[in-house]
């Protein structure tokens, strides 16, 4: 095995949104009144849709605000349900139901009202799905559960579709656990409970890969725009043709709302880009929005392993294209593409991410949560040049 299995599980377990990291979830990409700078939107071909009553569970974290904004732009009636603690000032004109899903009766606020669509964003504890299901019973047209591609137990095969092997569902004893190793198994149980609670004819399961863009406090994708903008010689992982996948938070969130509009049901792997993309395309694509003097030195996976450079956490958006991670960045999302998942150009994602990152407080910028430390990067590059004799 080319990669420590436990290390990989630990890193892969955090796919699917900031919830998986137990981060303080805030969306500084949005201002208090919910107005954000205009971003380009791919043509979706949809005319003005029929207004829907949409209930968003969570809705104030990373992906939620994008759904809210998009739904409001499309004239839907949006209601939020959350603890009322995160980003309280966000969307002041959107009705908010209050409840703490970890407490008994925490879903009581959901016992009134009917909804065309419920979108459940933050849930990794199957008890939350059950709580929502019991409270909303019979008054929901469609339940969209935001799962994760971390539900899969084996990434060794490229092109894995929605039928890929899943983790054994998490046992009740670990449902409340924040340990990354339980993330995928608990999400599997959540998916099962979603269907059990709401019925197969009402459920949409969305399994995103790495969600990127403004507001991503995990800094995983952001590492690259920030590092490239800084310039100089940059440690780049593997070979230029190693595959990568990611999905812009706008593209994912907007498609989820359209899944409601189109009553799209079923289970979907949801990452991008649509055309197979490699790490060199991503890195040079990001560089294209900067005026940086960045130069990439691609260092093979074997050498990175010798130097104890961790894929994914230290070299974000990348896993070795071999062995147990061969298929990790080659997940088949054709079903989602056929169901209308569209993509912005990488240049838009990179620029928006970089602009957002630079707008964050300096102290936050310095404490980036992902990516190799500058000193270690320089040491690895020096070791590589010494070995390569150049």
């Amino acid at each position: 095995m080319s990669l420590d299995r436990r290390a990989f599980l630990k890193t892969s377990a955090v796919l699917g949104g900031a919830a998986g990291l137990g981060l303080p979830v805030m969306a500084r990409a949005f201002t208090a009144d919910g107005v954000r700078p205009p971003a380009s939107r791919p043509e979706t071909g949809a005319a003005q849709p029929k207004p829907l009553r949409i209930l968003i569970l969570g809705g104030t974290g990373f992906i939620g605000p994008y759904q809210v904004q998009y739904a409001l732009d499309r004239k839907h009636q949006v209601t939020l349900f959350n603890r009322g603690q995160t980003n309280k000032a966000l969307f002041p004109n959107v009705p908010r139901l209050i409840g703490d899903r970890n407490t008994a009766g925490g879903h009581d606020a959901l016992k009134r009202g009917t909804w065309d669509v419920v979108i459940d964003n933050p849930t990794r504890n199957p008890a939350w799905v059950r709580g929502a299901g019991e409270a909303l019973k019979g008054r929901v047209g469609q339940y969209v559960f935001v799962s994760t591609i971390s539900v899969f137990s084996d990434y060794s095969k490229p092109g894995m579709d929605e039928q890929g092997p899943l983790h054994t569902p998490g046992a009740p004893a670990v449902w409340a656990s924040n340990d990354g190793a339980n993330y995928g198994p608990n999400k599997v149980q959540c998916e099962i409970d979603a269907t059990a609670q709401f019925g197969e004819d009402k459920v949409t399961i969305v399994r995103p890969g790495l969600i990127v863009g403004p507001g991503d406090l995990s800094d995983r994708f952001s590492y690259w725009p920030v590092r490239i903008d800084k310039g100089g010689e940059i440690l780049a992982p593997g070979t230029p043709s190693d595959p990568v996948q990611y999905v812009d938070v706008h593209d994912l969130s907007e498609w989820i709302v359209r899944c409601g509009e189109n009553h799209t049901l079923g289970t979907f792997n949801a990452t991008g880009p649509k055309a197979p993309t490699n790490i060199a395309e991503m890195l040079y694509g990001i560089k294209a929005v900067t005026t940086s003097d960045a130069r990439f030195t691609f260092v093979p996976a074997e050498f990175l392993r010798e130097q104890q450079v961790r894929a994914w956490s230290e070299m974000p958006v990348w896993q070795p294209a071999m062995g147990p991670t061969l298929g990790f960045m080659q997940v088949n999302c054709q079903k989602a593409y056929a169901a209308g998942l569209t993509f912005r150009p990488l240049a838009d994602t990179a620029k928006a991410t970089l602009d957002w990152y630079k707008s964050r407080p300096a102290a936050e910028q310095e404490k980036a949560r992902a990516g190799i430390a500058p000193e270690k990067e320089q040491a690895v590059l020096a070791a590589w040049h010494a070995k390569a004799g150049r």
Binding site: P42, P240, P273, K274, A275, P276, A280, E281, L283, Y284, G285, I286, K287, A288, V289, T290, T291, D293, A294, R295, T342, F343, R344, P345, L346, A347, A350, K351
Partner: protein, 339 residues
């Protein structure tokens, strides 16, 4: 500053003039008055045909801080302009070319790299002398007349809005179409270009700072490969574009012409290598800066899509769709046969 622009209504001229005006300079245009007359109503217009015997008469008795000579390949034009302007302008900025260098097959020429032999000023071979040789003669005439006030700018491939050669444009147009794309050689094969705005804005700064000397003027800032260019362009699109990188030996066997059919790319050792491997440290030190590639691509394509449909369909550079398909098919056939 008082600025005189010789030409000013072609490709790079309007970018230079509008930037100079935006910077608050007073601009006088000197040309035949035929190309886009009235483009800059705020600029003074002097008329003259530089091929005519007394063609530069309109410039006589006037003085400027700086003159930009943009369109000149004919050394006689420099002789005649200098005869009128010497003593009346402090700085003469001449737009030469990377083509001034001798032996294009050598990599990384800086400004001290040997240049072509200067073309003869008159005689039977004057008119038919190659472009590069004429540019060298022009450079030398400017330097002889204006000394330390001579600024020689040698751009490589100038790209962006208004580029009628379509060399750079081929790539964004092709990538925008999507599908399988023939990509030449290897990711690291050298590529250089310069956004017409970066070039002209820097030239105005050279004048503002009275910077004399000889400068290569291409980008980007660091050594760049064709892969960086194509991937950077792809980042501006979200389509199904996929590159198939075909080694140069196979392209050569298919008689694919670099530069013309595969723009911004050269075979190793070809006579266009110098277009892609110029050293620009001197220009960087003199303040040359660069837009992001994505900005160049998007502005170039906004301009391209505003062109008449017939022009959009008939690019002057790059490979036809049929020829690209044939080469790709041949490449895939060989790969299947050989593996």
């Amino acid at each position: 500053m008082k600025i005189l622009v010789l030409g000013g209504t072609g490709y790079i001229g309007p970018h230079l003039v509008s930037h100079a005006i935006a910077r608050g300079h007073s601009v006088t245009l000197f040309n035949r008055g035929r190309t886009r007359p009235g483009l800059f109503p705020e600029a003074e217009q002097l008329l003259g045909d530089r091929n005519a015997p007394d063609g530069h008469a309109a410039l006589a008795g006037r003085s400027w801080d700086v003159v930009f000579d943009l369109p000149t390949t004919n050394p006689q034009w420099v002789v005649n302009a200098a005869a009128v302007l010497k003593g009346n302008v402090a700085q003469y900025v001449y737009v030469s070319s990377t083509a001034a260098y001798k032996d294009f097959t050598r990599s990384f020429p800086d400004e001290t790299h040997p240049t072509q032999d200067p073309a003869p000023l008159d005689g039977p071979d004057a008119a038919s002398a190659p472009y590069g040789n004429k540019k060298v003669r022009c450079e030398q005439l400017v330097q002889a007349a204006f000394g330390s006030g001579a600024t020689i700018v040698r751009p490589g491939l100038i790209v962006g809005p208004g580029d009628l050669t379509d060399r750079f444009t081929y790539w964004p147009v092709r990538i925008e179409k999507g599908g399988e794309i023939l990509a030449p050689g290897q990711l690291d094969d050298p590529a250089q270009w310069i956004d017409v705005r970066d070039l002209t804005e820097w030239m105005v700064r050279l004048a503002e700072q009275r910077t004399g000397g000889v400068f290569n003027a291409v980008g980007p800032r660091t050594v760049c490969g064709i892969g960086e260019l194509l991937y950077g362009i792809k980042a501006c699109y979200a389509n199904d574009a996929q590159f198939t990188w075909v080694p140069q030996a196979f392209l050569a066997a298919q008689k694919v012409r670099s530069w013309a059919e595969m723009p911004v790319w050269s075979y190793t050792g070809a006579s266009t290598v110098a277009f892609c491997t110029s050293v620009i440290e001197k220009a960087l030190a003199a303040g040359l800066t660069f837009r992001p590639l994505a900005t160049t691509v998007r502005d170039a394509m906004t301009w391209y899509h505003a062109r008449p449909a017939a022009e959009q369909e008939r690019l002057r550079a790059g490979m036809s769709a049929e020829r690209e398909r044939e080469v790709l098919a041949a490449w895939h056939a060989q790969r299947r046969g050989g593996s």
